[in-house]
Symmetry: C2
Subunit: 217 residues, 2 copies
Protein backbone atom coordinates (compact mmCIF):
# COMPACT_ATOMS: atom_id res chain seq x y z
CA UNK A 1 0.00 0.00 0.00
CA UNK A 2 1.48 3.33 -1.04
CA UNK A 3 1.56 6.44 1.13
CA UNK A 4 0.07 9.74 -0.04
CA UNK A 5 3.57 11.07 -0.45
CA UNK A 6 4.70 8.18 -2.60
CA UNK A 7 1.59 8.60 -4.76
CA UNK A 8 2.24 12.31 -5.18
CA UNK A 9 5.80 11.67 -6.26
CA UNK A 10 4.66 9.07 -8.82
CA UNK A 11 2.11 11.44 -10.25
CA UNK A 12 4.63 14.22 -10.58
CA UNK A 13 7.22 11.94 -12.16
CA UNK A 14 4.57 10.91 -14.67
CA UNK A 15 3.89 14.53 -15.60
CA UNK A 16 7.59 15.33 -15.89
CA UNK A 17 8.14 12.34 -18.17
CA UNK A 18 5.72 13.88 -20.67
CA UNK A 19 8.25 16.69 -21.10
CA UNK A 20 11.59 15.02 -20.34
CA UNK A 21 10.96 11.79 -22.18
CA UNK A 22 14.53 10.58 -21.70
CA UNK A 23 14.25 10.41 -17.90
CA UNK A 24 13.67 12.73 -14.95
CA UNK A 25 16.37 14.37 -12.83
CA UNK A 26 16.45 14.79 -9.07
CA UNK A 27 16.48 18.56 -9.33
CA UNK A 28 13.60 18.71 -11.79
CA UNK A 29 11.49 16.61 -9.47
CA UNK A 30 12.50 18.54 -6.38
CA UNK A 31 11.53 21.77 -8.07
CA UNK A 32 8.14 20.41 -9.12
CA UNK A 33 7.44 18.87 -5.71
CA UNK A 34 8.66 21.94 -3.87
CA UNK A 35 10.98 19.87 -1.71
CA UNK A 36 14.75 19.74 -1.32
CA UNK A 37 16.81 17.59 -3.64
CA UNK A 38 17.98 15.47 -0.71
CA UNK A 39 14.38 14.61 0.15
CA UNK A 40 13.83 13.55 -3.44
CA UNK A 41 16.86 11.28 -3.34
CA UNK A 42 15.44 9.58 -0.24
CA UNK A 43 12.05 9.04 -1.80
CA UNK A 44 13.53 7.93 -5.11
CA UNK A 45 15.34 5.16 -3.26
CA UNK A 46 12.09 3.98 -1.69
CA UNK A 47 10.23 4.03 -5.01
CA UNK A 48 13.09 2.17 -6.63
CA UNK A 49 13.08 -0.38 -3.80
CA UNK A 50 9.36 -0.91 -4.49
CA UNK A 51 10.00 -1.39 -8.22
CA UNK A 52 7.94 1.67 -9.13
CA UNK A 53 10.81 3.39 -10.92
CA UNK A 54 14.09 2.43 -12.54
CA UNK A 55 16.92 4.35 -11.01
CA UNK A 56 20.69 4.49 -11.41
CA UNK A 57 22.54 6.74 -8.97
CA UNK A 58 23.42 10.11 -10.52
CA UNK A 59 21.72 9.07 -13.76
CA UNK A 60 18.07 10.00 -13.22
CA UNK A 61 15.03 7.75 -13.23
CA UNK A 62 11.96 6.64 -15.14
CA UNK A 63 8.69 5.04 -14.09
CA UNK A 64 8.58 1.26 -14.46
CA UNK A 65 5.55 -0.30 -16.14
CA UNK A 66 4.10 -0.86 -12.67
CA UNK A 67 4.87 2.72 -11.62
CA UNK A 68 3.26 4.01 -14.79
CA UNK A 69 0.05 2.06 -14.15
CA UNK A 70 -0.03 3.27 -10.58
CA UNK A 71 0.46 6.90 -11.60
CA UNK A 72 -2.26 6.67 -14.24
CA UNK A 73 -4.67 5.17 -11.72
CA UNK A 74 -4.13 8.18 -9.44
CA UNK A 75 -4.58 10.63 -12.30
CA UNK A 76 -7.76 8.80 -13.29
CA UNK A 77 -9.15 9.26 -9.79
CA UNK A 78 -8.11 12.92 -9.66
CA UNK A 79 -9.88 13.73 -12.90
CA UNK A 80 -13.00 11.69 -12.18
CA UNK A 81 -13.43 13.45 -8.85
CA UNK A 82 -13.01 16.81 -10.59
CA UNK A 83 -15.83 15.89 -12.96
CA UNK A 84 -17.97 14.81 -10.01
CA UNK A 85 -17.38 18.07 -8.19
CA UNK A 86 -18.27 20.18 -11.22
CA UNK A 87 -21.07 18.11 -12.74
CA UNK A 88 -22.80 16.85 -9.63
CA UNK A 89 -21.92 19.27 -6.87
CA UNK A 90 -21.81 22.46 -8.94
CA UNK A 91 -18.29 23.46 -8.06
CA UNK A 92 -16.67 25.83 -10.52
CA UNK A 93 -13.62 24.67 -12.47
CA UNK A 94 -11.28 26.80 -10.40
CA UNK A 95 -12.30 25.20 -7.09
CA UNK A 96 -11.88 21.52 -7.79
CA UNK A 97 -8.18 20.85 -8.12
CA UNK A 98 -7.34 21.31 -4.46
CA UNK A 99 -10.11 18.99 -3.29
CA UNK A 100 -9.24 16.44 -5.98
CA UNK A 101 -5.68 16.44 -4.62
CA UNK A 102 -7.14 14.89 -1.51
CA UNK A 103 -9.74 12.63 -3.13
CA UNK A 104 -7.26 11.08 -5.57
CA UNK A 105 -5.69 9.18 -2.66
CA UNK A 106 -8.84 7.31 -1.62
CA UNK A 107 -8.11 3.62 -2.01
CA UNK A 108 -11.01 1.65 -3.47
CA UNK A 109 -11.06 0.41 -7.02
CA UNK A 110 -14.74 -0.33 -6.64
CA UNK A 111 -15.38 3.29 -5.72
CA UNK A 112 -13.40 4.59 -8.67
CA UNK A 113 -15.20 2.39 -11.15
CA UNK A 114 -18.64 3.06 -9.73
CA UNK A 115 -17.92 6.78 -9.75
CA UNK A 116 -16.85 6.47 -13.39
CA UNK A 117 -20.14 4.75 -14.22
CA UNK A 118 -22.18 7.29 -12.21
CA UNK A 119 -20.58 10.08 -14.25
CA UNK A 120 -21.35 8.18 -17.48
CA UNK A 121 -17.70 7.46 -18.30
CA UNK A 122 -16.51 11.00 -18.97
CA UNK A 123 -13.63 11.37 -21.42
CA UNK A 124 -12.23 14.69 -20.23
CA UNK A 125 -12.03 16.56 -16.95
CA UNK A 126 -13.19 20.17 -16.35
CA UNK A 127 -9.83 21.51 -17.57
CA UNK A 128 -9.85 19.54 -20.80
CA UNK A 129 -7.49 16.78 -19.67
CA UNK A 130 -8.23 13.22 -20.81
CA UNK A 131 -9.47 10.70 -18.22
CA UNK A 132 -7.82 7.27 -18.35
CA UNK A 133 -10.30 4.38 -18.47
CA UNK A 134 -10.31 1.39 -16.10
CA UNK A 135 -7.47 -0.19 -18.06
CA UNK A 136 -5.37 2.95 -17.95
CA UNK A 137 -5.89 3.87 -21.59
CA UNK A 138 -6.58 7.37 -22.74
CA UNK A 139 -6.18 9.12 -26.08
CA UNK A 140 -3.32 11.50 -26.61
CA UNK A 141 -5.19 14.64 -27.53
CA UNK A 142 -3.39 16.57 -30.25
CA UNK A 143 -3.15 20.16 -29.16
CA UNK A 144 -0.92 23.18 -29.30
CA UNK A 145 -0.30 26.14 -27.04
CA UNK A 146 -1.79 29.40 -28.33
CA UNK A 147 1.71 30.84 -27.94
CA UNK A 148 3.07 28.34 -30.46
CA UNK A 149 0.43 29.09 -33.10
CA UNK A 150 0.88 31.11 -36.26
CA UNK A 151 -1.23 34.05 -37.27
CA UNK A 152 -4.24 32.66 -39.14
CA UNK A 153 -4.42 29.40 -37.18
CA UNK A 154 -7.87 28.52 -35.97
CA UNK A 155 -9.54 25.88 -33.91
CA UNK A 156 -11.08 25.19 -30.53
CA UNK A 157 -9.85 26.16 -27.08
CA UNK A 158 -9.76 22.69 -25.51
CA UNK A 159 -7.63 22.86 -22.40
CA UNK A 160 -5.44 24.73 -19.97
CA UNK A 161 -1.89 24.01 -18.94
CA UNK A 162 -2.13 25.85 -15.62
CA UNK A 163 -5.13 24.75 -13.51
CA UNK A 164 -4.54 27.23 -10.72
CA UNK A 165 -7.51 28.99 -9.27
CA UNK A 166 -6.13 32.40 -10.07
CA UNK A 167 -5.60 31.62 -13.74
CA UNK A 168 -9.00 29.97 -14.19
CA UNK A 169 -10.77 32.88 -12.53
CA UNK A 170 -8.90 35.23 -14.83
CA UNK A 171 -10.18 33.26 -17.82
CA UNK A 172 -13.75 33.41 -16.49
CA UNK A 173 -13.48 37.15 -16.06
CA UNK A 174 -12.36 37.50 -19.67
CA UNK A 175 -15.02 35.18 -21.05
CA UNK A 176 -12.51 32.60 -22.20
CA UNK A 177 -14.42 29.34 -21.97
CA UNK A 178 -13.55 25.78 -22.85
CA UNK A 179 -14.70 24.74 -26.34
CA UNK A 180 -14.79 28.30 -27.64
CA UNK A 181 -13.91 28.75 -31.34
CA UNK A 182 -10.66 30.65 -31.67
CA UNK A 183 -8.69 32.34 -34.43
CA UNK A 184 -5.24 33.87 -34.08
CA UNK A 185 -5.49 37.33 -35.63
CA UNK A 186 -2.18 38.93 -34.90
CA UNK A 187 1.03 38.45 -32.94
CA UNK A 188 3.05 41.38 -31.56
CA UNK A 189 6.76 40.99 -32.11
CA UNK A 190 7.44 43.30 -29.19
CA UNK A 191 5.93 41.32 -26.29
CA UNK A 192 4.61 38.20 -28.07
CA UNK A 193 1.06 39.09 -27.06
CA UNK A 194 -1.70 37.80 -29.33
CA UNK A 195 -4.82 39.32 -30.78
CA UNK A 196 -7.36 36.51 -30.99
CA UNK A 197 -10.93 36.17 -32.05
CA UNK A 198 -12.85 34.05 -29.57
CA UNK A 199 -16.61 33.51 -29.81
CA UNK A 200 -16.85 36.47 -32.18
CA UNK A 201 -15.05 38.79 -29.77
CA UNK A 202 -11.61 40.13 -30.49
CA UNK A 203 -9.34 40.33 -27.46
CA UNK A 204 -5.66 40.64 -26.60
CA UNK A 205 -3.94 37.96 -24.54
CA UNK A 206 -0.46 38.23 -23.07
CA UNK A 207 2.28 35.76 -23.93
CA UNK A 208 2.04 34.33 -20.44
CA UNK A 209 -1.66 33.68 -20.86
CA UNK A 210 -1.21 32.34 -24.39
CA UNK A 211 1.33 29.82 -23.15
CA UNK A 212 -1.25 28.27 -20.82
CA UNK A 213 -4.06 27.77 -23.32
CA UNK A 214 -4.35 24.82 -25.69
CA UNK A 215 -5.79 25.01 -29.18
CA UNK A 216 -7.02 22.05 -31.18
CA UNK A 217 -7.16 22.69 -34.87
Amino acid sequence: MLTFSEENYLKTIFHLEQIHSNGVSTNALSKEMETKASSVTDMIKKLSEKKLINYKKYKGFKLSQFGMETAIAIIRKHRLWEVFLVEKLNFSWDEVHEVAEQLEHIKSEKLTNKLDAFLAYPKIDPHGDPIPNKDGNFPKISKMLFSECQVGDEGTFIGVKDSSSIFLQFLDKNNIYLNAKVKIIQKEAFDLSLKIEINNNTIMVSHKTASNLYLQS
Copy 2:
Protein backbone atom coordinates in the same frame (compact mmCIF):
# COMPACT_ATOMS: atom_id res chain seq x y z
CA MET B 1 -5.02 21.32 10.65
CA LEU B 2 -5.53 17.93 12.26
CA THR B 3 -3.89 14.73 11.10
CA PHE B 4 -5.93 11.65 10.20
CA SER B 5 -4.74 10.02 13.38
CA GLU B 6 -5.83 12.91 15.57
CA GLU B 7 -9.23 12.90 13.86
CA ASN B 8 -9.66 9.18 14.41
CA TYR B 9 -8.85 9.56 18.10
CA LEU B 10 -11.38 12.37 18.46
CA LYS B 11 -14.08 10.35 16.79
CA THR B 12 -13.42 7.36 19.01
CA ILE B 13 -13.37 9.48 22.15
CA PHE B 14 -16.71 10.90 21.09
CA HIS B 15 -18.20 7.42 20.74
CA LEU B 16 -16.78 6.30 24.07
CA GLU B 17 -18.22 9.34 25.81
CA GLN B 18 -21.71 8.18 24.80
CA ILE B 19 -21.15 5.19 27.08
CA HIS B 20 -18.74 6.50 29.72
CA SER B 21 -20.35 9.88 30.24
CA ASN B 22 -18.11 10.71 33.20
CA GLY B 23 -14.89 10.70 31.15
CA VAL B 24 -12.83 8.28 29.09
CA SER B 25 -9.86 6.27 30.35
CA THR B 26 -6.57 5.62 28.60
CA ASN B 27 -7.15 1.90 28.56
CA ALA B 28 -10.69 2.15 27.22
CA LEU B 29 -9.44 4.29 24.35
CA SER B 30 -6.45 2.09 23.66
CA LYS B 31 -8.72 -0.94 23.45
CA GLU B 32 -11.11 0.81 21.06
CA MET B 33 -8.29 2.20 18.88
CA GLU B 34 -6.40 -1.09 18.90
CA THR B 35 -3.21 0.63 20.00
CA LYS B 36 -1.09 0.39 23.13
CA ALA B 37 -1.93 2.50 26.17
CA SER B 38 1.39 4.31 25.89
CA SER B 39 0.53 5.42 22.37
CA VAL B 40 -2.76 6.77 23.66
CA THR B 41 -1.01 8.74 26.37
CA ASP B 42 1.21 10.34 23.74
CA MET B 43 -1.74 11.31 21.56
CA ILE B 44 -3.81 12.48 24.51
CA LYS B 45 -1.08 14.95 25.34
CA LYS B 46 -1.13 16.32 21.80
CA LEU B 47 -4.92 16.66 21.78
CA SER B 48 -4.80 18.34 25.16
CA GLU B 49 -2.09 20.70 23.92
CA LYS B 50 -4.41 21.61 21.04
CA LYS B 51 -7.32 22.23 23.42
CA LEU B 52 -9.39 19.46 21.88
CA ILE B 53 -9.76 17.59 25.16
CA ASN B 54 -9.53 18.34 28.86
CA TYR B 55 -7.04 16.07 30.50
CA LYS B 56 -5.60 15.60 33.97
CA LYS B 57 -2.79 13.07 34.32
CA TYR B 58 -4.04 9.73 35.63
CA LYS B 59 -7.60 11.10 35.75
CA GLY B 60 -8.95 10.47 32.28
CA PHE B 61 -10.19 13.00 29.74
CA LYS B 62 -13.21 14.49 28.02
CA LEU B 63 -13.70 16.32 24.72
CA SER B 64 -13.72 20.10 25.02
CA GLN B 65 -16.47 22.03 23.27
CA PHE B 66 -14.08 22.53 20.36
CA GLY B 67 -13.13 18.83 20.34
CA MET B 68 -16.80 17.89 20.37
CA GLU B 69 -17.56 20.08 17.37
CA THR B 70 -14.59 18.68 15.51
CA ALA B 71 -15.59 15.09 16.24
CA ILE B 72 -19.17 15.72 15.13
CA ALA B 73 -17.96 17.31 11.88
CA ILE B 74 -16.00 14.14 11.11
CA ILE B 75 -18.95 11.89 11.95
CA ARG B 76 -21.14 14.08 9.74
CA LYS B 77 -18.78 13.55 6.82
CA HIS B 78 -18.51 9.81 7.46
CA ARG B 79 -22.27 9.34 7.41
CA LEU B 80 -22.91 11.63 4.45
CA TRP B 81 -20.36 9.73 2.39
CA GLU B 82 -22.00 6.45 3.39
CA VAL B 83 -25.33 7.76 2.10
CA PHE B 84 -23.65 8.88 -1.11
CA LEU B 85 -22.08 5.47 -1.66
CA VAL B 86 -25.36 3.62 -1.11
CA GLU B 87 -27.83 6.04 -2.71
CA LYS B 88 -25.80 7.28 -5.65
CA LEU B 89 -23.18 4.63 -6.34
CA ASN B 90 -25.24 1.56 -5.43
CA PHE B 91 -22.91 0.21 -2.82
CA SER B 92 -24.52 -2.18 -0.36
CA TRP B 93 -24.68 -1.20 3.30
CA ASP B 94 -21.96 -3.66 4.26
CA GLU B 95 -19.39 -2.15 1.87
CA VAL B 96 -19.47 1.49 2.79
CA HIS B 97 -17.95 1.83 6.24
CA GLU B 98 -14.38 1.09 5.19
CA VAL B 99 -14.45 3.60 2.33
CA ALA B 100 -16.14 6.21 4.52
CA GLU B 101 -13.29 5.80 7.00
CA GLN B 102 -11.10 7.31 4.31
CA LEU B 103 -13.54 9.87 2.93
CA GLU B 104 -14.35 11.32 6.37
CA HIS B 105 -10.88 12.90 6.44
CA ILE B 106 -11.27 15.00 3.30
CA LYS B 107 -10.94 18.61 4.35
CA SER B 108 -13.38 20.93 2.59
CA GLU B 109 -16.41 22.37 4.32
CA LYS B 110 -17.75 23.43 0.97
CA LEU B 111 -17.58 19.85 -0.25
CA THR B 112 -19.36 18.53 2.83
CA ASN B 113 -22.17 21.03 2.56
CA LYS B 114 -22.60 20.61 -1.18
CA LEU B 115 -22.64 16.85 -0.75
CA ASP B 116 -25.30 17.25 1.93
CA ALA B 117 -27.42 19.32 -0.45
CA PHE B 118 -26.85 16.87 -3.33
CA LEU B 119 -28.14 14.06 -1.12
CA ALA B 120 -31.16 16.21 -0.15
CA TYR B 121 -30.09 16.62 3.49
CA PRO B 122 -30.44 13.02 4.65
CA LYS B 123 -31.28 12.53 8.33
CA ILE B 124 -29.89 9.02 8.80
CA ASP B 125 -27.09 6.95 7.31
CA PRO B 126 -27.45 3.46 5.81
CA HIS B 127 -27.07 1.87 9.24
CA GLY B 128 -29.73 4.00 10.90
CA ASP B 129 -27.36 6.46 12.57
CA PRO B 130 -28.37 10.13 12.66
CA ILE B 131 -26.46 12.62 10.49
CA PRO B 132 -25.46 15.89 12.18
CA ASN B 133 -26.46 18.99 10.23
CA LYS B 134 -24.10 21.83 9.27
CA ASP B 135 -24.33 23.26 12.78
CA GLY B 136 -23.53 19.93 14.39
CA ASN B 137 -27.05 19.27 15.62
CA PHE B 138 -28.72 15.91 15.35
CA PRO B 139 -31.62 14.32 17.21
CA LYS B 140 -30.95 11.71 19.83
CA ILE B 141 -32.93 8.81 18.45
CA SER B 142 -34.68 6.88 21.22
CA LYS B 143 -33.93 3.24 20.69
CA MET B 144 -33.26 0.03 22.56
CA LEU B 145 -31.27 -3.09 21.84
CA PHE B 146 -33.38 -6.13 20.98
CA SER B 147 -31.54 -7.90 23.77
CA GLU B 148 -32.86 -5.41 26.32
CA CYS B 149 -36.49 -5.78 25.22
CA GLN B 150 -39.24 -7.66 27.02
CA VAL B 151 -41.39 -10.34 25.47
CA GLY B 152 -44.33 -8.59 23.83
CA ASP B 153 -42.40 -5.43 22.92
CA GLU B 154 -42.89 -4.29 19.36
CA GLY B 155 -41.63 -1.61 17.06
CA THR B 156 -39.36 -0.98 14.13
CA PHE B 157 -35.83 -2.23 13.50
CA ILE B 158 -34.10 1.11 13.02
CA GLY B 159 -30.37 0.58 13.40
CA VAL B 160 -27.38 -1.62 14.05
CA LYS B 161 -24.73 -1.27 16.72
CA ASP B 162 -22.12 -3.28 14.81
CA SER B 163 -21.59 -2.02 11.23
CA SER B 164 -19.08 -4.68 10.26
CA SER B 165 -19.38 -6.24 6.87
CA ILE B 166 -19.74 -9.71 8.29
CA PHE B 167 -22.64 -8.78 10.54
CA LEU B 168 -24.49 -6.81 7.87
CA GLN B 169 -24.13 -9.63 5.36
CA PHE B 170 -25.48 -12.02 7.96
CA LEU B 171 -28.54 -9.77 8.38
CA ASP B 172 -29.08 -9.65 4.62
CA LYS B 173 -28.92 -13.43 4.43
CA ASN B 174 -31.59 -13.68 7.11
CA ASN B 175 -33.83 -11.04 5.57
CA ILE B 176 -33.40 -8.65 8.48
CA TYR B 177 -33.79 -5.25 6.88
CA LEU B 178 -33.84 -1.74 8.27
CA ASN B 179 -37.35 -0.43 8.99
CA ALA B 180 -38.85 -3.89 9.33
CA LYS B 181 -41.71 -4.20 11.84
CA VAL B 182 -40.64 -6.38 14.73
CA LYS B 183 -42.28 -8.10 17.68
CA ILE B 184 -40.48 -9.97 20.47
CA ILE B 185 -42.27 -13.28 20.79
CA GLN B 186 -40.20 -15.24 23.26
CA LYS B 187 -36.92 -15.14 25.15
CA GLU B 188 -35.01 -18.31 26.08
CA ALA B 189 -33.69 -18.22 29.63
CA PHE B 190 -30.99 -20.74 28.70
CA ASP B 191 -29.02 -18.77 26.09
CA LEU B 192 -30.95 -15.48 25.96
CA SER B 193 -31.82 -16.09 22.32
CA LEU B 194 -34.98 -14.43 21.06
CA LYS B 195 -37.86 -15.58 18.93
CA ILE B 196 -38.99 -12.55 16.96
CA GLU B 197 -41.59 -11.82 14.35
CA ILE B 198 -40.14 -9.68 11.61
CA ASN B 199 -42.07 -8.75 8.47
CA ASN B 200 -44.51 -11.57 9.19
CA ASN B 201 -41.77 -14.17 9.49
CA THR B 202 -40.91 -15.77 12.77
CA ILE B 203 -37.20 -16.34 13.33
CA MET B 204 -34.74 -17.03 16.11
CA VAL B 205 -31.88 -14.65 16.79
CA SER B 206 -28.96 -15.32 19.13
CA HIS B 207 -28.22 -13.05 22.08
CA LYS B 208 -25.12 -11.80 20.28
CA THR B 209 -27.20 -10.80 17.27
CA ALA B 210 -29.95 -9.32 19.44
CA SER B 211 -27.44 -7.13 21.22
CA ASN B 212 -26.47 -5.47 17.92
CA LEU B 213 -29.94 -4.57 16.67
CA TYR B 214 -31.87 -1.47 17.72
CA LEU B 215 -35.63 -1.34 18.12
CA GLN B 216 -37.71 1.82 18.16
CA SER B 217 -41.08 1.36 19.78
